[in-house]
Point group: D2
Chain length 369, copies 4
């Protein structure tokens, strides 16, 4: 039986002076050599289901023997979560600047030549400790820059600073209308077999601004650089983005499934003493280069025909586009299909779209994991 | 076989100078004494399904013998439909003023004592013609007021001007996450047995700003006034709001069901020559006074447990409220239920809410129609 | 020398669970028979200058002998103030429902016949105490209704509950781009000579949803009803809305002027012992029926030619409308003027407008107060 | 006397089916060897003053002998201009995706090694023609990609396609609350002496996503590459962003000043036959590395003390921050100043800010041009 400890972190301040705070929950592991874990949810304001998964995971963990430290940060973007616009949460980007909350993380751009030269004499463990300390300190330094940093970067760097202290980082998101899928870096593809997630997107080991990349990239770069110097070790940090179905949805039963999937991965990594088996299910992969965005070729009303998570044969209807201004012409009702087999992973949330709206993201060249 | 004629009406002008126009479709009836019809859809920007219903209804009507004139106005609020905010349509109110697009209609406040005195010598048919002409002219006069009128009122009065020319007015809406339901004035309750809609809200014969009320209220008032003078006739105009399930959804198959329901009502009223039977289904009613709004008693993440359109027994779970800031306390997870039997008709669209958000609307004291 | 005491009131809860609180400042008067005062600011989120006026007023009051209790509530709408949309504050209406934050107050609709019958035996002082108690209790009762109330109504009724406890209520607002003006009920027109505000709008003694009306209407109704029963007394409560120039503007020097104007009124009413003279300035009035809204007759780019607070002769340019889509035609550049003399009081904040946008509000038939 | 020809370009389609179009105005030059010009305005929806400058410039040009072709595109972002949020224009980013409209241009990433190898035999004139044709065709190709492109990229590439056909590209913007300033690439610094703009930001010759960079970067890269191959020519294309004071403001008189400044530059470049002298005024420069953003160190109400365009001595007040929740403490009113001399160029538009909001941009190390 393990116990959780609650605290808070302040990540900003609203115009009225109210602190923007995030609740933190810590399980203190009983084994200092077990990997440590950081899990956050709801950085995009409408993507709430990760909170329910954290809720179920904490409930489960209380019944397990927790070996590694686990820090959980639900409701990780209070400003984004509380920003409504009509009946929905406008939580994908900073309402002032438009910047995507998940593209605000800090790119360390470590000068590895210099850093490695100074630290290569260290043992692996000491090398990793020094590197980790450097990453955390770089984040802390940004929070006190004399001319300040943006609201979104302050939030991101505050979160990143916690993430850098862990060996395993899980960022819980959802798509708009989406099936479950995992963002997994190429070097860590084996991990994809533990989560309760059918589809995995295999991404390159490079930085695009998101939390998972912010967490693993510096470590992949260190590993790669050391290898070039003839010193081989596994990438010491694992980081994933879990897309847990659709936004604006809380489903406690489904959250329990995903909590069990996460637990299976943590068990595999030795974070809990007990053996937890992954769900017995088919799992598929797709490379990022084969992940296609389909944009509305014209404006109109959209009937989304293709179910997310279900294979779609080339030529089968993806969407119907209805154009009420063109009734009586051939363009009043148009069926759109794709020229290749695919698995639709997510689609847009609204049923009327401007030309160019991203209607669907589909996986092509899907393979079994 | 009937044919439809397309035209457009301009209802405003955007800052860049582009005209705000609405496509209009007219079936010209073959029998001048058959009732005329006005049907509009999508006055609230996210409530798109009514367009699909109009699409299916026009397709059906082409195969029928249309006796009365039918005017159809899909996409009836171009500004509201095109106003996105994040991935959803912010179409419920004017983004500048906040005024609900469906509360902008003109309240004629006819001085019936004066008007009736001047026109009481007329036959019923001539009386109705004169009254209708007065209503249309009042609308037209507003469009040319010297200091102008608001954007929303211009749109509403333009639509209202068309509606006043019809004997039957249908305003096609949807709820947020909703089952189908009908707003029906008390005096016209028999009509509710024709549409393919299981739940009917019986509303008083008074004006609250919406299209249906704007269309029937002046006529109910005339009828009521004449009755006081000892002259009895049926209310000459019928007007209903149809709530066709959820917003941000196009479903062509379901739209066909509702088109058939509308056709059954029009057939009953003699607008088409053919006999169209209403769907064989259970239909229920509820008085407006028994239609209850349940507001979030506290903030949090919401799991909507009660299915819309399904009876809910007193004490059964309505929602789960999850409070991630309170994990470890009794308030972390709270089940909310209602003290009386009800039928949940609609619920809020977002899964995280501030205190006071309208979570559910439920019918109580439901009776069989 | 007087001292202020700080506290907070909770008026709601955000989705993340954070309390919505308003800071309260209380000066405790030394004379129980002096009138009590309630002043709030910033109920509309972008209208911040009232906070600066409260700041300056509190600084001044510390140097005066305060006889009546004074409660000050700056930042009175934390949700509205913190809701940004782009670089501006979207603070005029609830972002979810569109309802104007200043139209959410409770209309008591007191059954005066019944209430007065029960309380007419009381002395004036006791009658007023009983009435006030009833008003406050009605507000408190709303906050605990079993099915809850909306977010905006909860805020409004919480504020109203404090306002009802005072004899003088000041609600500090601003216009969009505006000169200073005062909303003053007809029965209290003499008060307009004390504030540092040149233009006064004389409003009827009826309820339209705003705070000033919510505060004075029940008292005016009581006074009116008692007079009909042959019992005469002055309306016991005064309430005003002060429009302190433009939104999105803090000007501490100007705020001191308005703080002094408020102090002059409070001095006149005996709330402070010291005599404070009103500013020596011209003051003008206009009846609400002569306060005209001018809507954009067509869309386009707007140059606002008429300065707010400066008389404008009939026929002089009000705005230039530029239509870049019509360059080369007579409609490319159009000068708009009004057919009567007026004083422009405020104009719209944006320089490009849809047809129907409220461009200017102007006073006509202006008279010297 | 020159004449202008009007046309339109379609750049997208709204959900209701309405075309998004931009009005285009063309002066056909009388001398084929004179440089051609492309000028656009209002890509950010609230930045309207550039339209007035185009209006005044066209009026002026009608009285000049125009030698080079001039294409003018006012109202260049119809979707952004028409998107209001409250009383302001939410025009800085796509309301769906949050992407800044001025970061959507296409980065050609020309493979210069390959392209130059194939074309180096051409004369300069022929080389430039071939390069220009390749740029335009690349843009056109994007507009017909099989899976489509985003709404914002479609707009940007449509504009870019027109810009690439010109030798001189001017993109007319404004700041939020701003003095006039020019973005000028290092290689073209002499041009800054012609516009009626006091402050010039000297930017590197690299691509960051904006129109000016999209227009000049490929040409600077070609010039640089050719120089490395021993072939020297001037960068054939000039492109600038003009920031014409504040957003949400039309001022026709001020627009005439800026039209004259643009005319002086065009005259200098031989686009009009007549000699037009630049305004006699002081002009200053600053390198991008010395252009500093100052972020709100804490939240609160902001009085902007430093006037834009006026030198500010180190230590003088930049802003006052008022914290009404902290009245009675030292933090209630805080004066913020900078540690170095600077010229404030622009400040934020709202007077209440979250922590981290970009309050001011200031030029440091300012030099005389």
């Amino acid at each position: 039986m393990s116990q959780v400890k609650q605290s808070n972190i302040q990540v900003g301040e609203l115009a009225t002076g109210q602190a923007l705070t995030i609740p933190l929950y810590d399980f203190i592991g009983s084994n200092a050599s077990a990997p440590s874990v950081y899990i956050q949810a709801n950085v995009h304001g409408a993507e709430v289901q990760g909170n329910a998964v954290i809720y179920q995971l904490m409930t489960l963990l209380e019944g397990y023997d927790v070996l590694g430290n686990i820090k959980l940060a639900p409701l990780a973007n209070p400003l984004g979560i509380n920003q409504k616009s009509g009946e929905f949460t406008l939580g994908r980007f900073d309402p002032i600047t438009g910047v995507n909350w998940n593209r605000e993380y800090f790119d360390h751009k470590v000068d590895l030549t210099a850093w490695y030269a100074k630290h290569q004499h260290l043992s692996n463990a000491a090398l990793f400790d020094a590197y980790r300390e450097m990453l955390v300190e770089s984040c802390q330094a940004r929070l006190t820059l004399p001319f300040g940093i943006t609201t979104g970067h302050r939030l991101a760097v505050s979160l990143q600073s916690m993430a850098h202290q862990a060996d395993i980082v899980l960022d819980l998101h959802t798509g708009p209308k989406s099936c479950k899928h995992l963002y997994c870096p190429e070097y860590d593809i084996d991990a994809a077999r533990f989560f309760s997630i059918p589809y995995t997107l295999v991404i390159p080991n490079s930085f695009g601004g998101a939390m998972d990349e912010a967490a693993f990239c510096p470590w992949w770069q260190l590993t790669d650089f050391a290898a070039q110097q003839g010193r081989d070790f596994e990438v010491p940090v694992s980081a994933f983005t879990l897309e847990l179905a659709s936004q604006e949805r809380i489903d406690l039963a489904d959250a329990l499934d995903d909590a069990n999937g996460i637990l299976a991965y943590l068990s595999h990594r030795g974070v809990v003493r007990e053996k937890v088996e992954p769900a017995n299910m088919a799992r598929f992969g797709c490379y990022l280069k084969d992940y296609k965005k389909f944009h509305a070729p014209k404006a109109g009303l959209i009937e989304y025909c293709a179910a997310v998570g279900q294979p779609l044969i080339a030529g089968e209807p993806l969407v119907n586009i209805l154009r009420m201004d063109l009734y009586g012409t051939d363009d009043a009702h148009q069926v759109i299909s794709l020229p290749m087999d695919c698995v639709p992973i997510l689609h847009f949330a609204s049923a009327s779209v401007h030309q160019g709206t991203e209607l669907y993201k589909v996986m092509t060249n899907v393979f079994t994991l």
